[in-house]
């Protein structure tokens, strides 16, 4: 299994980020660990095919996402918040609306309510310094589509996490 990338170094360098990404995608620690193991299990036999070691991180994230999509493909689809409507929500720009504390548990709860097509760009955006172009490559989407989904997902997330909002991020009555 000759390769320019040493397996031990590869795992040490990326396992934490991969696990966190997996956790944010699926929301469960056990599933996140399985996905991380599955990702390295798929990558190690193919390391010799890696032509650009600098791009190994993007490769790992992409494989993990594919493994996640494969895993949830056969599951009953969850009920996700339709983000088509989120674009119509006016994002509050007041300093108060932007100054709230961010609870990681609430972040996960908000992510769980998003369809994967909105959740993944949001995670990658906030996660590991992925550019829009990187995210577009990860998801095989045009960069404009990524930016559009990201804008709606960010608006939703801010609204969801702001104090005084109902379970869908709408202003409490």
């Amino acid at each position: 299994m000759g390769s320019a990338v040493d397996v031990r170094t590869l795992i040490d360098a990326h396992y934490e980020a991969l696990y966190r990404y997996a956790y944010r995608l699926c929301g469960k620690a056990a599933d996140a660990e399985d996905l991380t193991q599955e990702t390295f299990g798929k990558v190690i036999p193919r390391l010799s095919q890696l032509r650009e070691p600098d791009r190994v991180k993007g490769w790992l994230f992409r494989i993990l996402r594919n493994a996640y999509l494969h895993k949830v493909r056969d599951e009953r689809p969850g009920r996700f918040v339709p983000l088509d409507a989120v674009g119509d929500l006016a994002a509050e720009d007041s300093p108060a609306a932007m100054a709230f504390d961010v609870d990681p548990m609430k972040v996960q709860a908000a992510l769980n309510e998003l369809d994967e097509t909105f959740r993944t760009p949001l995670i990658l955006f906030y996660f590991e310094d992925f550019s829009y172009r990187d995210i577009a490559e990860q998801m095989d989407l045009p960069i404009g589509t990524v930016m559009s989904r990201l804008a709606r997902a960010k608006t939703y997330l801010r609204a969801k996490l702001s104090p005084g909002k109902d379970s869908h991020g709408l202003p409490a009555r």
Partner: protein, 237 residues
């Protein structure tokens, strides 16, 4: 650039990653921010929120021992891969050996003792004709170094000479006397140190160089001379 346009771009703008936007848009936005305190303040608030969201997003405790479990999994995976490779190599080698043995078994000659008996009978009954035919078949007709009595020939073929299969002819004379005539090529032997002489009390050697067709002949014989193996004077060839 006006504020609504700037607000749209701010949604995608990250100060530490200006290349996220097109160069022209990023330059125009930066110019606007330099002159618009409201938009600059909004950017500052948005960046601060993004930093908090980013920190919260990454705030996932990694299970203890996960690295070790992953390393163990990788080690056993690599070990299994090597075992599979070794097994495939062994199978391939076994297959090659089996194919080779099968080839050898399929192509080995069938021993035909009837043909052997016929050849021996022919040699027994007409040694001179058999020897003459053998000499002709091997380009040795004119390379016989002496006028040997071919009726004495009891063997004509290849014989191992110091590990090299060599054309050879045996003549059995009266009184259990034997002569071996070897025909050598210079490519097979260096004969420069081979000399004619009586090497033991029973065995003499004669070396004939520069025979027709480039042959060298070496004759080993028992007794004191070759006379007993030569055609009697006055007999027909």
């Amino acid at each position: 650039m006006d504020c609504p346009h700037a607000n749209l771009l701010l949604m995608f703008y990250r100060p530490d990653r200006p290349t996220d936007l097109a160069t022209d848009d990023a330059a125009a936005l930066q110019a606007h921010l330099a002159t618009c305190p409201a938009c600059a303040a909004k950017l500052a608030q948005q960046s601060a929120l993004d930093q908090r969201l980013s920190a919260a997003m990454r705030n996932v405790p990694v299970p203890t021992g996960l690295a070790d479990r992953l390393q163990d999994q990788a080690r056993s995976q690599i070990r299994r891969a090597w075992q599979r490779t070794a097994m495939k190599s062994a199978l391939a080698a076994s297959l090659l050996v089996a194919v080779y043995l099968g080839f050898v078994a399929a192509t080995r000659p069938t021993l035909d003792v009837g043909q052997l008996a016929d050849a021996q009978d022919t040699l027994w009954q007409s040694p001179d004709r058999t020897a003459t035919a053998w000499l002709a078949a091997n380009g040795l007709t004119n390379s016989l170094p002496e006028d040997f009595d071919l009726n004495l020939v009891t063997f004509a073929g290849r014989r191992d000479l110091q590990g090299v299969p060599t054309l050879a002819m045996r003549l059995d004379g009266p009184g259990r006397q034997t002569a071996w005539v070897y025909f050598l090529r210079s490519t097979a032997f260096d004969t420069s140190k081979a000399e004619t002489g009586q090497y033991t009390s029973n065995v003499g050697v004669k070396v004939y160089r520069d025979l027709p067709n480039g042959w060298t002949a070496v004759v080993l014989y028992t007794g004191n001379s070759l006379t007993n193996f030569l055609r009697p004077p006055g007999s027909a060839a």
